[in-house]
Every structure is written in C-alpha cells, then in structure tokens.
C-alpha cells in the first residue's frame, strides 16, 4: 500500500464486564478509500466504531492518528481529530429540528447568542450538495422524519464538518432502493474527496460496489483485512460465518487461525 493509514488501531481489547467483545483488533483506515467492516450480528462492529469515536474507553491497545499515537477519551477528542460517526441507532434528538441536530454540540454563535441564520444557511447548503430532496423543511423536527430521512440527516451532519474520517454504522440497513443508491453515491463521493470512510454493512453487494478494502470481524477478532479486488463474495461470506477462508492466501488472514 503506497499511502499510510490515516487512522490505525493496534491490538485493541474491549470488555463489558465479563463479556470480552474485542480481541486484539487491528484496524486501518486510509484517506480517500472506503474500508468496509463486515461481520455477523454481535461480531463487535458497532463496539469497534464506538471505541474509535471515544464513546467507549479502550481496555488496551494503541490508537494512532496520522502516524502518531493519540489519546482519545471522549467524543470531543475524536471530533477534534476530524472523526465523525453516523451511529446505527442514529442518536438524533427527536425534539430538535434538522438544523439544530446537525449543529448539536458545535453551534455557531455571535457572542453568546446562537447564529441561527448562518447555521440554517450552512445546513441547507450541505443538504443541497448531497441532493437531499425528500426533506420538506430544514426546520422540521426530527420526530417527523422517516428512517431514511433521519439517516440522511445523520450523514449530512457528519459531512458538515470537513471531517477527515467518517464512520458509518449500517447506513443503508433501513433504506429503500433509491435512498440506498443515494447513500452509496454519497459514501463514494466522500472518499473521492479525500475522506477516509469506514462503512459497516451486511449487504455484500453494496460492499463490493463501494469498498476499496474489507476488514472482516469474527467473534470480536479480525478474520481478514484484504483489498476488495483480491477476494470474492463467497470468500467474504466464509470469513464472516466461519472466521476463515480455505483458499484465501495466508498473509491476508492474519489472526483467524491464532
């Protein structure tokens, strides 16, 4: 690989009480590439994303950004590095409107007063650049949006901040055909603009379409970290379900047999 990873995790462990969810996980995200994170239900994908985002403290392991070790103790640290996350459970405030949600925690202000006009203009701009047509008004409360619309808002929120890394936890799981299309296009566009994208998905067609690399998790361990062009869909299914793939060349499947 010519470029070096923008974000790199080495030997990550994470337990919830006695449940050991992540075992010595290595993860690399490259700028301008889409890395797909695949794995069965409960493999630990969402946990890994939350660890990257600073939501869960790590039990052990190294967190490197731009080649340097960094300390991430909370969501603020992660977003200061330029890491944005779109969570599986979205985490929007239903009582707030679209603009308010997009700027939550990072409101624009003039003096002590919120700068609503700038925020609304900026939100409009970003939504328009993502070709969002289905939202009736940016001042609509999130409780009035459909699942797909909420997803779009959450992604637009991540795109708002000129982020360096965007993590998307199953962004297309609840979407119809057209909206899935839009989100995948958007994912590709984000990566093409230089952002490092991590995409969690159960849909291998989607993964093979947009991803440059695939990292497979099996029971909290990395089963494989390979370039998409080097694997077939059948091999990835094997990695997801059994943690190993017989005809995958050994170097690409580091720890599955360990």
């Amino acid at each position: 690989m010519s470029t070096s990873p923008l974000l790199e995790l080495r030997g990550i462990n994470k337990s919830f009480g006695v449940v050991h969810v992540l075992h010595d996980v290595d993860l690399a995200i490259y700028p301008g590439q889409v890395t797909a994170l695949v794995g069965d239900n409960g493999a630990g994908k969402s946990t890994l994303v939350k660890a990257v985002a600073g939501i869960y403290p790590l039990d052990s392991g190294e967190y490197r950004f731009d080649g340097k070790p960094v300390e991430v103790h909370g969501p603020k640290d992660a977003s200061a590095l330029g890491i944005e996350v779109v969570y599986q459970d979205l985490a929007l405030c239903e009582n707030l409107d679209i603009v308010e949600n997009m700027f939550l925690g990072r409101e624009m202000k003039t003096g002590p007063v919120l700068d609503e006009t700038s925020m609304e203009s900026k939100a409009r701009e970003v939504l328009a650049s993502l070709s969002v047509r289905t939202v009736k008004s940016v001042r609509q409360s999130v409780s009035s949006l459909s699942g797909g619309q909420r997803q779009t808002v959450a992604i637009a929120k991540a795109a708002l901040w000129n982020s360096k890394i965007v993590l998307l936890d199953e962004p297309t799981a609840a979407l119809g055909v057209a909206q899935t299309r839009q989100v995948l296009d958007l994912v590709r566009r984000l990566a093409d603009s230089g952002v490092g994208v991590l995409l969690i998905s159960h849909n291998l067609t989607d993964v093979f379409e947009v991803a440059d690399r695939i990292t497979a998790l099996y029971l909290g361990r990395v089963a494989a970290d390979v370039a998409t062009k080097d694997v077939t869909s059948r091999q990835v299914v094997e990695l997801i379900t059994t943690g190993t793939s017989s005809d995958l060349d050994g170097a690409a499947a580091p720890s599955a047999t360990a």
């Binding site: 707030l96 925690g105 202000k109 969002v132 939202v135």
Partner: protein, 420 residues
Amino acid sequence: MTDIITDAEEAGFANDRTQSNTLGEAARAYVNRVRGGDMGALPAILGLLVLFIVFGLANDRFLSALNMANLITQAGAIIVLAMGLVMVLLLGDIDLSAGVTGGASAAVMGLAIADHDLPWGVAVLGALVTGAVIGLVIGLIVAKVGIPSFVVTLAFFLGLQGLLLKLIGDGGSVRVDQEVIKGITKNNVPPTWGWVLAVVVIVVYALLALRSHRLKVSKGLQHQPLAVVVAQIVALAVILLVVTYVLNLNRAPNAGFVIEGIPYVLPLVIALLIAWTMVLGRTAYGRHVYAVGGNPEAARRAGINVDRIRISVFMFGSSMAALSGVIAASNLGKVSTSSGGGNTLLYAVGAAVIGGTSLFGGKGKARDAVIGGLVIATIANGLGLLDQASYINFIVTGGVLLLAASVDAISRRRRSATGL
C-alpha cells in the same frame, strides 16, 4: 416569492418551502400542527379565557382593577417557581423539593434581616445562594450517584422542612417588613413609568421581531408570513396596554385613598420571562438543555457534558425557587414553618404542565410558566371570590392538573403517531 422557490429547486430542495405564502396557509399549517398533537400554549390560553369569562360573569368584583392586581401578586410566586420547574421538567426530571427550597431560602433572607440587620440586597443574595447550593447538592446526587430525581427531591422535601423548623422554631414565624422586599408585591410602579415601561417593551419587541423577519427573508431562510409577525406584535401590544391601563386605574376600595400602578412583581416576572426565553431559545446552553431532555445519549455523543447540564439546571431551578420564596414572603409579610409546603409545589408543577411543558422532557418554554401560573392563580382567586369552601379549590385545581397532564400524554402519543 417565486424566486425563492426557484432557488430552492436549484439547490435540490424541491419541497423545502421557506415560507407559507398566505395567512390562510399559515393558519392551516397551525391547525395541522395542533391536530398532530403539538398544542403549544393554545389550550392554556383558551382555558384562561374561559376562566375569565366564567368568573367575570359569576362575580362582578372578579374583573375589578383591585382584584386584577391581587391576581397578579398571587400569581407571581407560582410563576417564578414554575419557571424553575420548567427547566427541570425539560430534562425529564422533577424537583419535588422546589417549594420548600423556596421556604427555607426565604427564611434565610428573613433571619438575615430580622436577626442580623443585614441590608436587603445581601439578604436576598443569601436566599439565592441558599437555593443554588441546595440545587447543586440535588444535581450532584442525581447526576453522579444516579438516583432518580423523584426520590432525591422527595428526600429533600422532607429534609428541608426540618431545616425550616430548625431555622425559625416550632410554630414560629419571621416577620418580613423590610420596605423593598415588602414592596415587591405591595408597592406599585408610578403610572407614568408603567406606561413608559409598557411602550418600551412593545417597541423593542416589535423592532427585534421585524428585524429578524427581514433578515430571514433576505437570506432566503424559513420564516413566517409578515402578517403573522405583525399579528403577534399587535397581540402583545394589546395585552400589555390593557393590563397597564387596568392596573393604572385607582383601585383603592375607600374614597380618599389612591392605589394605582403596576405591582413591582409584574415587571420582575416579565424580566425573568425575557431572560429565560433568551437563555433557552437563543444560547447554546439552552439548546443543550433541550438536547439532554430529548435524547441524553445523543447529547453525550455530540460532546455535551450531560452531567454538567443536569447539575446546572437543578441549580437554576432551585435559585428560581428561592426567588419565588422571597416573593411569597413579600406577599405574606412573613416566613412561617409551613412556607413553601402544602400545595405550593403542586401548583407550580401544575402551572408548568398546564402551560404546555411536557412531563416527559424535551418540550417546554419559560412562557408556559406564566400562562399556566395565571390559570392556577385565577382558579384560586375566582373560587375565593365566590366564597367557595377551600375543598372546591383543591378539587378543581387537581382536576385541571390531571386534565393538563392528560393533554400532554395524549398529544405526545399523537406526535409520535403522526410524526409531528
């Protein structure tokens, strides 16, 4: 108008209208919101109107200038307490000790003046600090230990009554006859100054509202039709001018005396209303309070310090309770062992909920406390004039609270059903 739509289409917002074209459309949009369960202050305002008509017809003294002034001084303490509770309710929490926090804080003020001859300013500051400290402790326990606020503040409800007994002795009371403090509810703004105040408030509000409307139009942002903005300004002007007129009438019951002017408590309430409306609606802090009330996990992931918000809200709530205790002491002329006990707290919770604040968190405004507080005070005042036994008052107020809570719960269900 047409070019706004074209712009929006170019920007990819085929449906994103920045304006409801006509007054009719704006009205229809509002009706739809109400149907969808977003009632806002409407039920409370209608209720207040009905109460005024019923009591006005039932007793000709109800609408008299003297009684209106009474009503306002009675409502003052309830409204201020309810404003603090709106904050706490916004988080989905409750402060059952707010009433007695007011009583204990007022006792601190009363004793500071009576026993220690401190100036009134220092005494009031002492009351506010007492409230803030109580709120700090409650907030710390709720946020850091993780006990539901219902239980923590129930404990404080009992404990603070004990503190109050200790402070002023069994069955005793502290007289409050300091001029300024008594004056909050007993003295009136000179009529000329009353008019000046009313006009200034109206003009400033009108200028700000029109300026913000113009700004939104020029930037192509979502805005209400100009007619609605003007209607709101006119409504505010009419209410303020009528209230000022009525309160500036001579309301002395005996000839030869003159009692006229707006009781000082009214400008105090209006100032607090403006301040809290600004804080909740226009600052990042206020936005974060709503966020924590709506979805604490989302707030946390957005980098908001949820514990700090919760603790500060309890501190503000209890400080407002302290101020409410001072106003009640001013009205009563004393602080007694039962100050802030009894139905004080329930009246204030009722006021907030009747005004439209949700018990489920995330929804509410400072103005809810004012409208709801007026409803509660009107019921007590009107039934009092009708010489009804006080049991009727309890039953009616309890019924109204239940009604308001049902409206809240049902409209919440409708909101999630219609997604409004």
